[in-house]
Symmetry: C2
Subunit: 160 residues, 2 copies
């Protein structure tokens, strides 16, 4: 075991801190505000929120924590650009999905043992993992925290 | 020791990945492009680049790796908003400082032992660190990586 718990706690603290920041920023938006673009001609806040929800949803199977809750978010918020789809999830649907997905992740993450974070993530085979053991769950945690920060930096521009 | 090295390697990989991304994005800008605002009325790319340089420069003493190289960047890029100062470092000065600071950090980080990352950072006293051992160098590494991602998300908007 050694110091595993200390590193994992720091990784989780970073994740939770960014999630709280996103909760506050997106959670405070009105139905009108969420339609704002972060800059003229750029993504709307709702798109960023839905995008983050979809990417976090995909972390559930990636970390071996369960099935996705909202695979249908990918078409609206990942594989297609903003304003290209006729029907996309509503403000209320994104809010509910965001809360459900991050709640599920929180529960699941709490159940991962310290050394479990160094086990392979589910998008890498056992064979490939043997060649490159850095393709583990902790790497996913850090990279998704950075991804969240990246889009928070953008979202704050649309949030006057 | 145990798994310390594995966690540290993942933290450093994340840092280096974001630095490379920033190198490419900012390094490719012409003297004109660096004056662009990321959105109308918002920070210029040069301000973001200088801001990141100043915050990274401050990591040198914070991580116990040495003195700051460019403390004068704070007035231009941290404690005052963009376009508020009569004289700010030029494009070329920011480029040189960015490269010097991150080069110094890279060298310094390579010299920190795995368990050394769990030692206190220099802005916390030994007494306070005893109460909260999470205030360590690894926490600084992760939070500054997130900070870099946050502003990269913004900078990409100004970089057509």
């Amino acid at each position: 075991m050694g110091n595993d718990g200390a590193y994992v706690a720091l990784g989780l603290k970073g994740w939770k801190g960014q999630i709280e920041r996103a909760d506050k920023l997106f959670g405070s938006l009105s139905a009108e505000e969420v339609q704002r673009e972060i800059a003229p001609g750029r993504n709307r806040l709702l798109y960023l929120w839905g995008h983050l929800t979809a990417i976090h949803d995909a972390m559930l199977p990636l970390l071996g924590l369960g099935e996705r809750l909202h695979p249908e978010f990918d078409a609206a918020f990942v594989s297609n650009p903003d304003k290209s789809q006729a029907a996309t999830p509503s403000h209320e649907q994104v809010r509910q999905a965001w809360n459900a997905v991050n709640g599920e992740l929180r529960k699941g993450m709490e159940g991962v043992s310290s050394s479990g974070w160094l086990q392979r993530h589910m998008a890498v085979s056992e064979e490939d993992f043997a060649k490159d053991p850095s393709r583990n769950r902790f790497a996913v945690l850090l990279s998704r925290t950075n991804h969240l920060s990246y889009h928070l930096g953008q979202a704050v521009l649309g949030h006057k």
